[in-house]
Symmetry: C2
Subunit: 405 residues, 2 copies
């Protein structure tokens, strides 16, 4: 028996299901017997909540729908495996279940935390001399994984952000009085997503006026002065800010607000957004209309506008993971390596999971301008190929059709 | 000389430029000499800020780009003409400029306020025996204009809301613990847009769990009880609320919040959003994750996902306005009349502007369920044809291309 099992973990992306399809289809093509899916990741596996994927991906239409379905088809979890030492019971249970299912190879599609899962499982497997192979498939809209040129999921999010920012700019510049629109974009620690707003500029679009990433310290006075300068021209402007920008003392900008919206049942403070705070600061000082726009979860689930480059690479990462496992490798993660700039070409390449797990990749300082108010041409050149080409939704009765478990 | 002039006013829609194209192309086809555009509506006209549209819409490619360009190509304004009595100087100035330009017919694309402009100008024209014809072309995402079956712009906004809600539902249901997501949708007084979230339900989607429109009184206790009931099943849910829902004493739900974000330079209180307030109320009472999502201005500017039905009707309304003016009519607005339900068919029909201006059309009470927590099948049946069919963006270098003045 050559059974395999695959799971999805962490925050979803628009193309995480293309990686799932890459694993499923390549495994089937290469002679796998049963392709199991963990429902809600490793947590689902521990609960023996698993499905036979062949019963859910039955034909070519299902495959084409799966590629166009946002969020994690198998469901996700935020569960992080405990350290092996002192928690051997958890690992014993996992391997007991995997052995019951006669698993030959285990695939996990996810970000930093998920790669940590692959690391721990393959480490434990080595320790007990298990023949099961463990391979990680990268995904995250945040693009913050080490070693890989970029992560599957980032290109589609970047495309959505750039296209939406273009639309917001057309909308924001419509009136004959100045309006300051601030667009808040995801990214607590890394500014890759916010940087994509820079792609809005072109022959047919003014682009955003200012961009603030979490990689540089945010200075409110400097920001206000910049906005004031632009307002002297009595024109509307659109500004892109990362949700994760922080001031010099280390507080998030959204923590500068006088009020806390509420404390949730888990004791987490829910803060007013960064864009809301900044528009309020502008409105206090200038006689100008303001608008705060949060792109929110649409950045990671707008499957109706995926990048075909991203989707293809996501599929290929899944497929390459299967190939690698079937060649006998374990404890590896598939990465993307840019082998040519012009024309853009990327290939998959395995990397030792120990070099990837728990390492966060930020935007290099030299790709941000000196006063931290915009990104450089090099950064735009890096992102541009990742948003290329499209894949139309399958429209049914006026709406994009998805595949549901 | 058969010169005409056209302007756009009020909040933009994804297809307001298709109406502009309908006016431009039909006027040219019917022998108009110069087609002038007012830049920033009637306010631009008063400033003699006008363009010759032939110099900006030069060929078929420009036309195809214009159809796909969100926001008002000519710019917009919120300027409302004063009453004729006592303000004759304003009207004299407008007619002086129109006569200078040898204007034969005047077209204004807009919502309630814009129809008021057509009413006043045609009334004044009659009074002074001017031969200039004044015709209104309806547009508003809010769908709140009287007499017309629906307004151009609504179908595309409804399609965006329904499609995005489907994606938010897939994303919101991904975890193995309950998450309550509240999606806030535009509409201060009318719930047409929020109702479109109901279209998300289908073979491939659970749909939203609850829908609250401004047409019924919002009861916070009843809402909390409803959410509590659903949470007993320990499942995630997605709820659609209109930004304009109000409690029994007439206050907006967003006004119930303890804090005011800020007072802007115009003295307007900027309130925390309805969704944010409601998620906070839920988080106070239940041990559950919450998410507040505001669709914000994307609802009216997401030209990358327009309804082709909507786009075609918007074009036709512009064209029908020109036809009507060239047949000698004035003081009319083009409306849409649904002449067949199945198959859906709509035709344009003129209506006296006096019956349309300043009248607001709300969702009928019988299209909302008894306890005000969902909409009826009749309402879904009414909206469904309006979101049908697509028009692909013209993709250039990974992004939708627009036409800029």
């Amino acid at each position: 028996m050559k059974n395999i099992i695959v799971g999805q973990s962490g925050g979803p992306t628009a193309v995480i299901n293309s990686s799932l399809l890459g694993v499923f289809k390549t495994a089937k093509d290469r002679g796998a017997d049963i392709v199991y899916g963990m429902v809600h990741g490793i947590k689902g596996l521990l609960d023996r909540n698993i499905v036979d994927l062949s019963k859910h991906i039955k034909n070519d239409l299902d495959m084409d729908l799966l590629k166009r379905t946002p969020s994690s088809f198998l469901g996700s979890c935020r569960y992080k495996l405990p350290d092996i030492e002192g928690n051997e019971d958890v690992y014993e249970k996992i391997f007991e279940i995997l052995n019951e299912l006669e698993i030959y190879a285990f695939f996990y599609i996810g970000g930093n935390d998920s790669m940590d899962t692959i690391k721990k499982l393959s480490d434990y497997g080595l320790k007990i001399n298990s023949p099961i192979r463990f391979i990680g498939v990268p995904k995250t809209i945040d693009n913050d994984l080490a070693i890989t040129d970029h992560t599957p999921g980032y290109g589609s999010a970047a495309k959505y952000i750039a296209a939406t920012t273009k639309e917001i700019i057309r909308d924001g510049l419509v009136y004959d009085y100045p309006v300051v629109s601030i667009v808040e974009i995801m990214g607590r620690n890394a500014g890759w997503l916010t940087a994509a707003a820079a792609l809005s500029k072109g022959e047919d679009c003014e682009g955003v006026d200012l961009i603030y990433l979490p990689e540089t310290v945010f200075d409110l006075d400097h920001f206000i002065a910049k906005v004031g300068e632009l307002l002297k021209e009595e024109r509307s402007m659109v500004i892109a800010v990362s949700e994760g920008i922080k001031v010099a003392d280390g507080r998030y900008v959204c923590e500068l607000s006088d009020h806390i919206d509420y404390v949730d049942a888990f004791g987490h403070k829910q803060l007013a957004g960064t864009a809301r705070y900044l528009t309020a600061e502008i409105a206090k000082r200038f006689k100008v209309k303001t608008r705060a726009i949060e792109l929110s979860s649409l950045q990671r689930c707008a499957a109706h506008m995926t990048s075909r480059i991203d989707l293809t690479e996501a599929f290929n990462c899944g497929g390459a993971a299967v190939k690698l496992a079937f060649e006998g490798e374990s404890g590896q993660v598939i990465t993307l390596q840019r082998v040519s700039e012009d024309p853009y070409m990327c290939i998959t390449k395995p990397a030792d999971v120990h070099y990837i797990a728990n390492v966060e990749k930020k935007v290099p300082r030299e790709w941000i301008n000196e006063d931290g108010t915009f990104v450089t041409a090099d950064l735009i050149h890096y992102i541009r190929p990742l948003i290329q080409a499209e894949i139309d939704p399958l429209w049914v009765d006026g709406l994009p059709r998805h595949l549901k478990l």
